[in-house]
C-alpha cells in the first residue's frame, strides 16, 4: 500500500506506528504526520479540535459495506433486563474504540441506561476478542464489540443483545497543512480508483494489503461521519485526554 500511495503522491511515504491513539492525534495536530489511518471515533475527536483534517476515503468491510455496527453481547442462556439490571460488569475494548465507550453509551441509552450509572461498572479487555471471550468465561456480564466479532463467537453461545447505529469504516485522513490540495486529490483518486470486487487489476493491487484495507474504499461523501461527530459531543471530556 505504501508503494502505491508513494507513486500517487510522487514522494516517499513512511509508516509510523503509534502505541495508542492519543499519541497519534497529538502528532497529527503537531504536523508530525501528513496522513492518518483512523477509526471513526478518533477521527471525530481529531476533527473536533483540528479543522485541517480532511477525510480521503473510508475502507469497506469484508462484507462490502463502508460502515459497521457494534453490539452488546451476553451469554446465550442468560436472561437480562438491561433497563433494570443492577451490578452489571461490562467489558469494553479500548478507550478510543468506537465500539467502546461511544457505541456502548449509545446502546445503553436506548434502554435508558448510562455507563456511569451506579449499577454499572466497566473494564477494558484490550480487544474485541478478549471482550467477547470474557463474556463466555463469565468475567463480564456484557461486552461491547463489533458485530462481526460477536458473530464469530456465536458458536460459544454468545448472543447479541442490541446493535448500534452504523459507523463509517476506518479511513485515511489528510493533514491539509502538510499536503497540497493537488496531492490530497491525487491520493484520494488513487484510493478510490481501486475496485477489488469488480476489477481484476484492483484485486491484484490490493490483495497484499491488510484485512481491513483490501476490500476497497468509498468516497467521504458515502461515509456517514455526521452520526459519529454528533455522538462525540456527548462523550465525557476525559476520554479525549486519557488514553
Amino acid at each position: 500500500m505504501l508503494g502505491y500511495l508513494q507513486e500517487a503522491v510522487g514522494r516517499p511515504v513512511e509508516l509510523i506506528d503509534f502505541e495508542d491513539y492519543s499519541d497519534l492525534l497529538e502528532a497529527f495536530r503537531n504536523d508530525q504526520i501528513d496522513l492518518a489511518y483512523l477509526g471513526p471515533l478518533p477521527y471525530a475527536l481529531l476533527a473536533k479540535s483540528d479543522h485541517d483534517v480532511e477525510p480521503l476515503a473510508c475502507f469497506r468491510e469484508a462484507d462490502g459495506l463502508s460502515s459497521y455496527t457494534c453490539s452488546l453481547v451476553v451469554m446465550g442462556g442468560r436472561q437480562l433486563d438491561l433497563a433494570h439490571a443492577q451490578g452489571l460488569h461490562i467489558g469494553l475494548t479500548q478507550p478510543f474504540s468506537t465500539c467502546g465507550y461511544l457505541a456502548v453509551s449509545q446502546m445503553l441509552a436506548s434502554s435508558g441506561r448510562r455507563l456511569d450509572d451506579p449499577g454499572i461498572r466497566f473494564s477494558y479487555a484490550g480487544s474485541h476478542t478478549e471482550a467477547a471471550l470474557g463474556v463466555v468465561r463469565g468475567e463480564y456480564d456484557l461486552a461491547g464489540i463489533k458485530t462481526s466479532i460477536a458473530e464469530r463467537y456465536r458458536h460459544l453461545d454468545l448472543r447479541i443483545l442490541t446493535v448500534s447505529p452504523p459507523f463509517p469504516g476506518f479511513g485515511v485522513y489528510a493533514n491539509r497543512r502538510q499536503l497540497s490540495a493537488d496531492e490530497i486529490e491525487r491520493l484520494r483518486e488513487a484510493l478510490l480508483r481501486l475496485e477489488p470486487v469488480t476489477s481484476e487489476a484492483g484485486w491484484e493491487q490490493m490483495k497484499g494489503w491488510g484485512h481491513s484495507l483490501r476490500n476497497g474504499a468509498e468516497a467521504p461523501s458515502n461515509c456517514d461521519y455526521q452520526g459519529v461527530l454528533d455522538a462525540v459531543e456527548s462523550l465525557p471530556v476525559w476520554l479525549e485526554a486519557t488514553p
Binding site: 446465550g76 463466555v136 464469530r152 456465536r154
Partner: protein
C-alpha cells in the same frame, strides 16, 4: 635433489604426525558430541515423561469425568445451538485449567468429538468443527481407544509434542482431549543438561508439512529459518532482541557447509564444530525429530559452546610441537651422517677421470659414474667383475695376458703404476687408449686391493697426429701466415710469408710484426685495428707493409684472435696476400671511370663524389662552398655548322682555359656536352665566386682559332652557394642550373647568383608546364575569333583565330601568359597542331552553315616555321582537315622573319599550296623593303601601337600613311590592328587603308557568337556612321 628428497621425507613424517593427532582430536571431539547428543535425548525423554505423568493426573482428575464425557456425548447429537451451549460451558469450565497448562508450557488444549472434528480449541476458540483427526494420525488412533503421548505433530495452529487421551462415556469413546507441549518446554529441558549453559536451541519445522495442516492465519507466527528456506521457526522474543553474535556466526558457517542441504532433505543428523578463535569453539548439532508418521518433520538445532575443545586443542598442539621437534632433531643427525658419506661419493662421482677399486683378487668393488660412462658398462655389470678379463687389453689388437696384469699386481706390491699406453675395450667392442694410474688401497693398515684412475686419451692421441699433418699444410699455403703469441711475439710463419716479405722463419721468430711496418699508417689506424680485434675477435683490411728489401707494398690482411673457451686470448693468426698488382689495375679502372677522356677533367661521377666529400667537410668546418655552373652559349651551332671535330677542339680549349682560371685546389669538371662545373672551397671573400665567374667569362671570350676558323665562344654562368642555396648536391646543382638559365635569359655571356625569387619563378614555370600538358589532355584550350573588315565594303574578309586557355584555377588565360613556357616545355608543337585543326574544323562548320567567314587567320610562331618539319606541321594538318589552303591565312610575326631566310623554299611552297601569308605586328621589327619584295606576303598588319596614338601623334600618322602607300605600290593589302575609336577608323578610311581589325568592330569572341555577326553584316553600319 637429494636434499629435497630428504626434506620431503621429514615433511612427510611431520605431516603424518599431524594427521594422527588430528584424527585423534576428531575422535575426541566426536565423543564429546555423542555425549551431548545422548544427554539431549535423555533430557527430552525425561521431560516428556514427566509431562506425561502430569497430564495423566490431570486426565484422571479433571477430564475423565462423567460431566465432561456426557457433555461430549451430548454434543455429538446436539444441534448447533445445543453444541454452542455445551462448548461455552466447557470453555468456561476448563479455561482456568488451560491457563494453568499455559503456565506449564502447554500451548494447546482441545476437545475432539468421536467423529474426529475439533469441538473446542482453547487457544483459538474461533476455529472449530474442522475434521482434525484426518490430519492428525495420533488423534485418529486415540479415538480408536489407544493412548499416545509425546509425539511430534503439526496442528491447526502450532506444531508440538502432542499428548492425547480418549474420553469414554459408558464405555464408548465419545471424544478425546488433546494437549500440545510447546517447544519452549523442550528447550528448558535441554538447557538443564550439563555443559549446555549458554547454548542456543532452535526448533526447525518442515514448512510444507506444517502448512498442509495449519490454518493460514497461523502462518504469521512463524518465520523462515536462517539455514534453509524449507524450514520455519517460531517467532520469538529473541528474534526481536537479537541472538548472540556467536549464533549468527554459527548459522553462517552451517550455511557454508555443502552437505547441509542433503542432510536436511534426507532427514539425517549433522554434527559440526566451529572455532572463531583459539578459545572460542562451538558445536552445532542438528538432530532430526520424527513425527507420528515417522517422518522427519522437524530438527532441533543446538549450538553449544565447547569449552573443553580448547583444552583438547592445546594438548594436541603441544603433542604436535614436541613430536615435530623430535623428528627434526633425528633428521638433523641422519642428515649429517648422510652428508659425510655423500661428500665422499660426490667427489668420486664428479671426477673427470674414471675410477674403480679392486679387491686383492682383482674383482671390482667400487666404480664411479665416469668409469661407467667411459667403458659404457652399467655399474651392476662392473661390480664383482674382474677388470683384467672384462675390459683390459695391452694394446689395440693384442688380447690381455691372463696371468700378468701390471695395473693390479704393481699396486698389490705397494707401488704406483702409471701408463699412457694401456687399452681398455668398451662394452660396444671399441678399444680405447687410456692413461692409467693404479695405487695400493689400504684399509686399517692392510693392503686390501688397488685404486685405479684412468682417462680416455684416444682423441688426444689422434689430435697430436692431426697436428703433425697440419704442420705440413701450414707450410704449403699460398697465403702468408704469421702466428703470434698473446703479446705479439712471432711464433710461426709459413713459406709464403718468406716469399712475400723476404724474411726467413729464423729471422722473424721471437720478433714482433712491427718488423714489417711501412710507416704509412698513423697511430690511430693501429689503435682502431686492435680495438676491432678485441671487440670482434678479428680484423680484415688493406695495409701497407715493408719488405726486407725496404720496398713498401700493399697487402690484404686478416687477423684472427685465438681464444680459449673461457675467452682468454692465447695468440693471433695473421694471413695476408700481396695486392700490389690488384691495386694497380684498380687505379687504371678508376681513372677511366672518373675522368672525361676528351678534356681530361673529372667527369660527372667523379665530381659528384668529390662534391659530396667537400660538402661533408664544409659542414664539419662550417665553411661555405660555391658552385659555378657553366654552359657555352650557342655551342650547338658550332657543332651543327662546323662539325663535331671542331666542337671537340672548342671544348678542349675551353676546359684548359677553365683550369687556368681557378686555383689548383679548385675543382673543375665536365658534366657533359658543353656543361662545366667549378667548385670553389675555402673562398676568402664574399665576392670570390663572382670574381672567378668574371675571370672565366673573360678567358673564354678570347677568340679560339681552329683550322683557320676564328671562333668567339661565350658562356653563361649560374652560381649557387652552400649552405645559403641548398644543403645537398641535388639542390645546389639544380639551383646553379636555374641561375645559369637566368643568365642566358638575361642576354648570355654573363653570370647570375641564384635567388629564391628565381627558384619561385622556376617552380611556377614548372607548374605551368605540367598544367599545359594536362590542358592538352583535358581539352582546356579554346579559340576566340576576331573579324577583319574590308574598309570599302564593310564585309568580313576573314577571322583571326586567337588561342585561349581555360585554366582550371587561374581562369581564362591569354597566350602571352603561357606561350613562353609552352615553347620551353616542348608543348608548342602540339598546341600549334591543335590550333590549326580546331580553326579548320570551325571554318568548315561555318561554311556548312551557309555562312561566309572569309579566310581563317592562324598565327604561326618562328619556332614552328623554323623547325625542320614546319611544312608537315602546317600544310599536312590543313590538308587532313579538308579545308582548302586558299581559305587559310598564316600570320607570321615580323620579328620571326629574321630567323628564316626570305628566299627560303619553305615560303614558296606554302604560297604554292594556296596559303596566304601576312606579316603580323608590322612596323616594330626590322623588315627591309628588299625583304618584303622577295617574300610572297599578301597582307601587312600594322601594329596597334601606331593606331593607338593616331590622333595625337603625327609621326604615327605619317608611318601609317607610308605603309599604306607602300602596300599599294607593292600590291600588298594593308590591315590596321587595334582599331577602337571611330576617329581612328575615319583616318584609316581617309588614307585608303584596305582592312581594319579591332574592338570598334568586335572584340575576339567565341565561335558561337561569330555566326550572328556574319549574318547581320553589322559592320557596314559602323563604316557608314564614320563616313557620314
Amino acid at each position: 635433489m637429494r636434499g629435497m628428497r630428504f626434506s620431503l621425507v621429514v615433511s612427510g613424517l611431520v605431516i603424518l604426525l599431524a594427521l594422527l593427532l588430528l584424527a585423534n582430536y576428531g575422535r575426541e571431539v566426536q565423543t564429546r558430541q555423542y555425549f551431548i547428543e545422548s544427554s539431549q535425548e535423555a533430557a527430552i525423554a525425561s521431560r516428556l515423561s514427566s509431562y506425561q505423568r502430569m497430564l495423566e493426573v490431570l486426565y484422571d482428575n479433571l477430564f475423565d469425568r462423567k460431566e465432561v464425557t456426557a457433555a461430549l456425548a451430548l454434543a455429538q447429537q446436539a444441534d448447533a445451538q445445543g453444541q454452542a451451549r455445551l462448548r461455552g460451558r466447557l470453555y468456561r469450565e476448563f479455561y482456568s485449567t488451560f491457563s494453568q497448562l499455559q503456565s506449564n508450557d502447554f500451548r494447546e488444549l482441545q476437545f475432539v468429538l468421536a467423529d474426529g472434528r475439533s469441538f473446542l480449541r482453547f487457544n483459538r476458540p474461533d476455529l472449530y468443527a474442522d475434521p482434525i483427526s484426518l490430519q492428525r494420525p495420533l488423534l485418529k488412533r486415540v479415538l480408536q481407544g489407544e493412548v499416545h503421548n509425546g509425539v511430534l505433530e503439526n496442528g491447526r495452529v502450532y506444531p508440538g509434542f502432542r499428548f492425547a487421551f480418549p474420553l469414554r462415556h459408558q464405555g464408548v469413546v465419545v471424544g478425546a482431549v488433546d494437549f500440545c507441549l510447546s517447544f519452549k518446554a523442550i528447550k528448558q529441558a535441554l538447557n538443564t543438561v550439563e555443559d549446555h549453559a549458554g547454548s542456543d536451541i532452535q526448533f526447525l519445522v518442515r514448512k510444507d508439512l506444517y502448512q498442509a495442516v495449519s490454518h493460514p492465519s497461523s502462518h504469521a507466527l512463524f518465520r523462515e529459518s536462517e539455514i534453509s528456506p524449507d524450514f520455519i521457526v517460531e517467532q520469538e522474543a529473541v528474534d526481536r532482541d537479537g541472538r548472540p553474535d556467536s549464533v549468527a556466526w554459527l548459522y553462517e558457517r552451517l550455511l557454508e557447509d555443502t552437505q547441509l542441504p542433503q542432510v536436511l532433505s534426507e532427514g539425517r543428523r549433522l554434527n559440526r564444530v566451529f572455532c572463531r578463535g583459539l578459545g572460542d569453539c562451538y558445536a552445532s548439532i542438528l538432530r532430526p525429530v520424527r513425527d507420528s508418521l515417522d517422518r522427519t518433520s522437524a530438527y532441533i538445532l543446538t549450538s553449544i559452546p565447547m569449552r573443553d575443545v580448547e583444552y583438547l586443542r592445546r594438548s594436541h598442539l603441544s603433542a604436535f610441537i614436541v613430536g615435530t621437534l623430535l623428528i627434526l632433531l633425528a633428521a638433523v643427525a641422519v642428515r649429517r651422517w648422510l652428508d659425510s658419506n655423500r661428500r665422499l661419493r660426490t667427489i668420486s662421482d664428479h671426477m673427470a677421470e674414471g675410477m674403480y677399486v679392486m679387491d686383492e683378487m682383482g674383482k671390482i668393488i667400487y666404480v664411479n659414474p665416469m668409469a661407467c660412462e667411459i667403458l659404457r658398462y652399467d655399474e651392476d655389470v662392473l661390480i664383482g667383475a674382474e677388470a683384467h678379463t672384462l675390459f683390459h687389453t695391452h694394446s689395440e689388437r693384442q688380447p690381455p695376458l691372463s696371468q700378468f696384469c701390471p695395473i693390479r699386481l704393481r699396486a698389490l706390491s705397494g707401488e704406483i703404476y702409471r701408463s699412457t699406453d694401456e687399452h681398455f675395450r668398451r662394452s660396444d667392442g671399441v678399444t680405447i687408449r687410456v692413461s692409467v694410474v693404479s695405487s695400493p688401497f689400504w684399509s686399517d693398515d692392510t693392503l686390501t686391493g688397488s685404486v685405479v684412475l684412468f682417462r680416455d686419451i684416444t682423441a688426444e692421441y689422434e689430435d697430436k697426429a692431426r697436428l703433425q699433418r697440419s704442420d705440413v699444410a701450414f707450410s704449403s699455403l699460398a697465403e702468408a701466415v704469421m702466428v703470434t703469441g698473446p703479446n705479439g711475439e712471432i711464433q710461426a710463419v709459413n713459406r709464403a710469408f718468406t716469399q712475400i716479405t723476404g724474411y726467413s722463419e729464423t729471422e722473424v721468430i721471437g720478433q714482433t710484426p712491427r718488423l714489417l711496418k711501412s710507416g704509412r699508417h698513423d697511430q690511430a689506424f693501429y689503435e682502431q685495428l686492435w680495438q676491432s680485434i678485441s671487440r670482434d675477435g678479428g680484423w680484415e683490411g688493406e695495409v701497407w707493409n715493408r719488405r726486407k728489401s725496404g720496398e713498401v707494398y700493399p697487402e690484404h690482411l686478416r687477423i684472427a684472435a685465438v681464444s680459449r673457451p673461457d675467452g682468454v686470448i692465447t695468440g693471433y693468426v695473421a694471413t695476408f696476400s700481396d695486392i700490389t698488382e690488384k691495386l694497380r689495375q684498380e687505379q687504371v679502372l678508376r681513372k677511366l671511370a672518373y675522368h672525361d677522356p676528351l678534356t681530361g677533367l673529372h667527369n660527372r661521377a667523379a665530381f659528384l663524389e668529390m662534391f659530396d666529400h667537400a660538402l661533408g667537410h664544409a659542414e664539419r668546418c662550417r665553411r661555405r662552398l660555391a658552385l659555378l655552373y657553366l654552359d657555352l652559349d650557342r655551342f650547338k651551332k658550332i657543332n651543327d655548322t662546323l662539325g663535331h671535330v671542331i666542337g671537340d677542339r672548342v671544348l678542349e680549349t675551353s676546359a684548359r682555359r677553365l683550369r687556368d682560371a681557378v686555383r689548383s685546389d679548385d675543382e673543375v669538371a665536365r658534366l657533359g656536352g658543353d656543361e662545366f662545373i667549378i667548385m670553389l672551397e675555402d673562398f676568402a671573400h664574399e665576392d670570390s665566386p663572382a670574381r672567378v665567374a668574371r675571370k672565366v667569362i673573360s678567358l673564354l671570350s678570347q677568340p679560339v682559332v681552329i683550322e683557320h676558323h676564328t671562333l668567339h665562344v661565350t658562356t653563361s654562368i649560374g652560381i649557387a652557394i652552400y649552405p645559403d642555396d641548398g644543403f645537398d648536391v641535388t639542390q645546389l646543382l639544380k639551383n646553379a642550373d636555374s641561375a645559369m638559365y637566368m643568365a642566358k635569359r638575361e642576354g648570355r655571356n654573363g653570370f647570375q647568383y641564384f635567388t629564391q625569387a628565381m627558384a619561385k619563378r622556376e617552380e611556377d614555370r614548372f607548374s605551368l608546364e605540367i598544367d599545359l600538358h594536362n590542358a592538352l589532355l583535358d581539352e582546356d584550350f579554346l579559340l576566340h575569333y576576331q573579324p577583319k573588315v574590308d574598309l570599302r565594303t564593310g564585309r568580313v574578309t576573314g577571322l583571326e583565330a586567337l588561342l585561349r586557355w581555360q585554366h582550371p584555377q587561374r581562369g581564362l588565360l591569354n597566350p602571352s601568359e603561357f606561350l613562353a613556357v609552352a615553347h620551353e616545355g616542348g608543348v608548342m608543337r602540339d598546341i600549334t597542331h591543335w590550333v590549326i585543326t580546331e580553326s579548320c574544323r570551325q571554318l568548315q562548320e561555318w561554311l556548312d552553315a551557309g555562312l561566309e567567314p572569309g579566310r581563317i587567320a592562324i598565327n604561326i610562331d618562328s619556332h614552328t616555321f623554323n623547325s625542320a618539319d614546319a611544312y608537315d606541321q602546317i600544310g599536312r594538318t590543313v590538308e587532313v582537315s579538308g579545308i582548302s589552303p586558299n581559305r587559310v591565312e598564316l600570320e607570321i610575326p615580323e620579328s620571326g622573319l629574321l630567323e628564316k631566310s626570305f628566299d627560303d623554299e619553305f615560303w614558296k611552297l606554302l604560297v604554292d599550296m594556296g596559303f596566304e601569308l601576312s606579316i603580323d605586328d608590322f612596323g616594330i621589327g626590322e623588315s627591309s623593303l628588299l625583304r618584303l619584295k622577295h617574300l610572297p606576303v599578301t597582307t601587312l598588319k600594322i601594329d596597334k601601337s601606331f593606331i593607338r596614338d593616331i590622333e595625337s601623334d603625327e609621326g604615327d600618322r605619317a608611318i601609317i600613311r607610308t605603309v599604306v602607300a607602300m602596300g599599294q605600290s607593292l600590291g600588298v593589302r594593308v590591315l590596321a590592328e587595334g582599331v577602337e575609336q571611330a576617329s581612328q577608323l575615319a583616318f584609316l578610311c581617309q588614307i585608303g587603308c584596305d582592312e581594319a581589325q579591332g574592338y570598334l568592330f568586335s572584340k575576339p569572341r567565341p565561335a558561337e557568337q561569330i555566326a550572328p555577326l556574319l549574318r547581320e553584316h553589322a559592320f557596314r553600319k559602323t563604316l557608314d556612321n564614320v563616313r557620314s
